[in-house]
Symmetry: C2
Subunit: 198 residues, 2 copies
């Protein structure tokens, strides 16, 4: 129905998460008609992101240099390591401004049905990171979901042999929620009330 180039763009946009055929059509028609500068800046931004952004070799956060800005910051507390599921969760915690330690970003949470098992989360790199020394407490900040809790249990079992104290984000985070959609106050409270894992 649409010219072939428009259909190709709709197909590409449909592969984005949460974007169905109708949304992809709406976005594609917008992009066809938008000012040239808008389309150009999207292409440039997407190209730049793929060229410049990598995972930090220390914390696996998205970074345009290695180590990333947080790992390279001498002002942060080396004795605290906060483990999150994603860069988006890290961004939410940073925006809350209540944490001044280091991070480790997992490759998501356990999701057996989607083929994400213990071997896919980069736990070996987490163990290595903790072993490097200096880490006195690992704050497990996986999401308060079934997958996040299972991942937290796995982290506890994996890190138990280490000397580090293991804690979990405290109450304040509602069960079933997602860190990256949470307000800063709730996140700050949950950091302050973090609990040692038995």
């Amino acid at each position: 129905m649409y010219p072939r180039a428009v259909e190709a763009l709709i197909a590409s946009l449909s592969r984005l998460p949460g974007v169905g055929r109708k949304t992809a059509e709406r976005l594609a028609l917008h992009l066809v008609r938008a000012p040239a500068e808008e389309a150009r800046s999207l292409v440039a931004a997407l190209t730049a992101v793929r060229q410049q952004v990598r995972a930090c070799s220390l914390c696996r956060n998205l970074a345009d240099r290695d180590p990333c800005a947080i790992c390279a910051d001498p002002g942060r507390d080396d004795s605290l390591l906060c483990v999150v599921e994603s860069s988006a969760d890290l961004a939410a915690l940073e925006a809350a401004g209540a944490y001044k330690g280091r991070y480790f970003v997992l490759a998501g949470a356990l999701a057996p049905l989607e083929g994400v098992g213990p071997d896919n989360l980069h736990l070996d790199e987490l163990v290595k990171r903790v072993r490097q020394g200096g880490v006195k407490e690992v704050i497990i900040a996986t999401n308060p979901t079934v997958e996040g809790e299972a991942t937290a249990d796995l982290i506890v079992r994996t890190l138990e042999p280490s000397q580090a104290r293991l804690t979990r984000l405290g109450y304040g985070v509602p069960v079933g929620g997602d860190l990256k959609y949470m307000d800063g106050l709730t996140l700050a409270r949950s950091l302050a009330s973090r609990q040692k894992v038995d």
Copy 2:
């Protein structure tokens, strides 16, 4: 919080219709991590669309050649001209398969609050298209919304001096709806029951 390239991509994605900051973040993080081929095909599709797609000089539909495939099709009825607000509406009517005439695609509907007045819809080109002769009936298929009805009234006033019969899509299209989200049967029925405008 994110690397600068990621922030730039989020900003670009936020300019898309219906995409807020959180959605843009989710899309950007997906695009950073997606297989290289997926990002590349999106860039290629977007670039191709901007290079290849233009408005057809006869009907103003999106087209990769001029005249477009519908205007160039000798098998369609030259005596019928269906006026729609957008290429997406045209696509919905074509998918219904109940119409074999020609089209004219307006640049949207009247929206005074958004600065879209009678001069922005390309009505002069519609008049020219009708004057070219051969058009016996103009089917006004603007959306059954306040803006669409106002646009239909404007088209009626604009085309009254012409010899063409003016009709409106018939009942079957629910008021407040949007053609591009309508099922083919409803669209086919509304075409069959179209009414002459007094």
